[in-house]
Symmetry: none
C-alpha cells in the first residue's frame, strides 16, 4: 500500500524531522510583543524557505498585521486539502518558572520542551513532514495540498481572516475541507477528533477613583477604593459556584445532545487526574455538569489578570487611584459574542458602585463557538487516519478553547473542518515549560499522510 | 507679660528663622533610601549643633538604626515638656512632578516649598525657634525642655520606640507631657488639637490555584480562578456601602460621644471640597456617619494593592496561578490590632472558596488607635496657646492616620500627649511639591513659646 512507503520514510527520518522542528522552535516569534516583530518575520521567512525546499510552490502574503506563509503542491487528483497552522507563539512570562530556556528546545522523557512546541509549531510541522514524506516516498502527492500559516494567532490578528474572506471562492474551489491541528488528543495514547470549540470574547474593565493614589489613613472611609469596587464587580459577575450572574448570559446556550452526554460518560474522565495535573485539591464549576461537559459545552467568565495600587515588596498605605481586570468569557454554540459582551457591559455598569468611574474596552471582537457534524466524510476519514497513525481508536471530544480561524474557514468556505489535535491538555500551551510528545509528532505525520492518501 | 517679649523676638527674627529652616531643609535626609545614609547623618549633626548653639545641652544617641538627636534646657520650674520631631524625610519620587527642586526650598505665595517642609522639619523647627526666643528674650526657659528628634520616622524605624521603652522612667519623671507637631491644622486659618488617631494593621492575602498559569479555554469551567476567589473574599470582607462584613469587627468600636458629634457638626465640613480636592464625583462610606466621623472615628478595610495573572499590554487567556491583595485595616479606640487581625483572618478563611489555597501574612504588628482626654491640663494649655499664637480659636479634630510614636509615648510614659499640628492636609506631606505655610511656622513658634510659659 502506498502509505507504507511514507510511513517507512517517516520512521527513517524522524531524527532529522525533530532537528528541523528545533530550528523552527528557536525563533522567539511572539506576536503579541512588538519587540519580537523581527523574530516573527524571521520565523515566517524560515518556514517559507523550508516549504519551498520541499518542492512546493511557496510564498509570503504581506498583510496589515503579520505575514501569512503559504505553500501549494499539486497532486494526482484535483481535490484540495487545506492545512492551517500558525508560526507565532505566546509570550513566555513568567520566565523564571521555565526549567529550560523557552527558545532552546530540549528533549526529556520523550517530550520536546519549549515555547511553541505544542502550540502550534510542533503540531503544524507534523503535516509539513507528512507532505514531504509523500513527495519523497511516493514521488507525488495524492491530492492538492495548500498550507496557510498565520503569524498572529496569539495576538488576535485579523490578517488571515481577512484573506480567507477575500479569497473564499478560490479557497473553497475543489476543497475537501480544512485540517487544523492546534488542539489536543484525548490523552497520551488516545487520538481524538475535536467536534466542538468554545468561543471567546475579551473585556477590559478599569475602575477609576481619586485622581492619584491617596493616603489610606487620611482618606479611608470617605473616598472609595477602586480595588474594592472591582472586586465587587467581579463577584457580581460570577459566583464561586461557577454560575455566571450576568442577566441573560445563559439564554441562548445550546443544550447538550444525548449522544454527547453518553460520549462523556463513556470517556470515563477522572477528575483526580486533572487535579493532579494542575495541582489543585478541588475542582470548580457548575455541579450539575460533568467536568468534560463544563469544559466543552458550558460558558464561563474568567479574570485573566487583575491589578491596581501597590504591588511591590512590603506595604504602602494607599487608596489606589485605579484598578483593572482583564476578562474573557468563553462562549458555547448559539451564543453571540457581541450580544454576550453587551450583556456583560450592561451588567457591569449596573453593579458598579457610584464612587468610581468605569471604563470598559473590548467586546467587539473574539470568536463564536463552533460545532461540526461528526458524520461528514472528512471527519470520518480523519478518524480512520488517526487510527492508522497512532495505532489506537480515535474518540470525539470538545475543546474549551477557541480557534477563531476555524470558525472563519467554516463560515466562509462552507467546507468541513477536521480538527485533529496532536497535543495534550497537559502540554502547557500558554504556560511555562510548554511541551509536545515526540511520538505524537511522528504519529501525527503518519496520520496526516494516511489522510491525504484516503482523500 | 513675659510672652510678649518672646513674641516680639519672633517677629523681629522671622527672616533669619526662615533662613535657618532652609539650611535644615537642604539636607536630603531620606531615611528609606540607603544612598542617603550620609545625608541623614549630616542632617542630624547639623540639628545637634544648632540646638547646642542655642545654649542647650545637646547630643546624639547612636542606635541600630538612624541616630536620635536630643537637647535639654533647664528652666525656672522643674516641670518638663518633651518635644518630639523627626529630621528624616520621605523619598521624592516622582521627581518629574516637582515644580521646584525638592531640596532647594523655595518661597511662593506665603508658602515654603520643598521636601520636609511640613513633614516634619518645618513643624518641628517652630518649637526650636520658640525655645530660642524664650531663652534670648526672657533670659531663661520657664520650665525644662527636652527635644527628642528621630531620623527614621519615614522608614518605620524602631530606634526611638526602643529608646522610649528603655528610658521611660527618666523620661516620665517631672514630665508634663509630650508635644508633637507632625499633623495638621483644621484649615489654613484654624489651628487644631488632634485628640484622636486611628490605628492600623496590615494583612497580605494570597490565594493559590493551579501550580502555574493555565489556558483559560482549556481549563475554564473546571479549574477555579484565584483572581475570582480573591474578589469574592474582598467582597465578603467589605461592602460597597462601606460596612466591613468581618464578623465581630465592630464589637469593640468606641462610640462617638455627644460632644464629638456636636464638634463635627460645628466644623461644618464641606464634602464638596473633599471631592474637588481628590477628583471624585461621589464620596464613600457608612451613610449614618458624617464624613469627618468616618475619617476620624470609624474603622475601615482597604485594599492597598491587588495583583494576579496577566498585567501587560493586550490580553492573555489564562487562569492565573495566584492572586494577592495587600490590605490594611484602620482601627479606632478600643479595637485591638491583633484581635482585629485574627477576626479578619478567621473570616477570610471562612469565606475562601475551597478551590484555592489561602496564605495570609501580617496582622501581628501595626498600631492601635489612640484618643486623648481633651480635659487634661496640657491639652487645655495647648488650646489657649494656639489661640494666642494664631489669633483664632483652636478646634478639636481627629486624624485618620496613625503616628505610632505617639502611641509609644502614651503607653510608656503615661503622660498627656499634645498633638498640635501646624501643617495642612493639602500640604502634600508624602507627595511632590510638599509645602508649609510660613505664617504657620511663625505662629506655631509663638504658640509653642506661650505654651511653655503657661506650664
Amino acid at each position: 500500500m502506498a502509505t507504507d512507503k511514507a510511513f517507512d520514510y517517516i520512521d527513517q527520518n524522524k531524527e532529522r524531522f525533530l532537528e528541523e522542528l528545533n530550528e523552527f522552535l528557536r525563533f522567539p516569534s511572539i506576536s503579541a510583543q512588538s519587540d519580537h516583530n523581527k523574530d516573527v518575520l524571521a520565523c515566517g521567512g524560515w518556514l517559507k524557505d523550508h516549504l519551498a525546499n520541499l518542492g512546493l510552490e511557496a510564498g509570503i502574503i504581506e498583510t496589515e498585521g503579520k505575514p501569512i506563509v503559504w505553500a501549494r503542491g499539486r497532486g494526482r487528483s484535483s481535490k484540495k486539502v487545506i492545512f492551517y497552522g500558525h508560526y507565532d507563539v505566546q509570550p513566555v512570562d513568567p520566565l523564571e518558572e521555565w526549567r529550560t530556556p523557552p527558545f532552546e528546545p530540549t528533549v526529556k522523557d520523550g517530550y520536546i520542551y519549549g515555547r511553541g512546541t505544542t502550540d502550534d509549531k510542533g503540531q503544524f510541522f507534523a503535516h509539513v513532514k507528512a507532505v514531504e514524506s509523500l513527495l519523497k516516498a511516493e514521488g507525488e502527492l495524492p491530492c492538492e495540498v495548500l498550507f496557510l500559516v498565520e503569524g498572529e494567532e496569539e495576538s488576535n490578528g485579523e490578517a488571515l481572516a481577512d484573506y480567507i474572506k477575500e479569497n473564499k471562492v478560490e479557497l473553497a474551489s475543489r476543497a475537501v475541507g480544512v485540517v487544523v491541528s492546534d488542539s489536543s488528543m484525548y490523552d497520551e495514547r488516545t487520538p481524538a477528533i475535536t467536534y466542538a470549540l468554545r468561543g471567546v470574547v475579551p473585556l477590559e474593565v478599569t475602575v477609576k477613583g481619586p485622581s492619584c493614589d491617596l493616603h489610606s489613613g487620611q482618606y479611608g472611609g470617605a473616598i472609595g477604593n477602586p480595588a474594592i469596587a472591582l472586586a465587587h464587580i467581579i463577584s457580581e459577575c460570577v459566583g464561586i459556584d461557577g454560575k455566571v450572574k450576568i442577566k441573560g448570559f445563559y439564554d441562548d446556550v445550546r443544550k447538550l445532545e444525548d449522544w454527547e452526554r453518553e460520549n462523556v460518560k463513556k470517556l470515563n474522565y477522572q477528575d483526580s487526574s486533572l487535579k493532579n495535573q494542575v495541582g489543585v485539591k478541588n475542582l470548580f464549576g457548575e455541579k450539575e455538569f460533568a467536568t468534560l461537559e463544563r469544559l466543552w459545552a458550558r460558558p464561563t467568565f474568567e479574570v485573566n489578570g487583575i491589578f491596581g495600587g501597590y504591588m511591590g515588596e512590603g506595604g504602602k498605605t494607599i487608596i489606589p487611584a485605579r484598578a483593572t481586570a482583564k476578562i474573557t468569557m468563553r462562549l458555547v454554540p448559539n451564543m453571540d459574542l457581541k450580544k454576550t459582551a453587551e450583556l456583560a457591559k450592561g451588567h457591569i455598569r449596573a453593579v458598579c458602585p457610584d464612587f468610581v468611574e468605569l471604563e470598559i474596552t473590548g467586546g467587539d471582537a473574539g470568536a463564536n463557538a463552533v460545532i461540526f457534524d461528526k458524520n461528514n466524510e472528512l471527519i470520518k476519514a480523519g478518524v480512520e487516519a488517526l487510527k492508522k497513525g497512532f495505532g489506537s481508536e480515535a474518540v470525539y471530544i470538545g475543546c474549551g478553547g477557541s480557534i477563531p480561524v476555524t470558525l472563519t474557514f467554516w463560515e466562509e468556505l462552507k467546507k468541513p473542518i477536521l480538527l485533529m489535535g496532536l497535543g495534550q491538555d497537559s502540554d502547557g500551551a500558554h504556560s511555562p515549560n510548554e511541551r509536545f510528545l515526540i511520538s505524537s509528532f511522528i504519529n501525527g505525520a503518519k496520520a496526516s499522510a494516511y489522510l491525504l492518501n484516503s482523500i
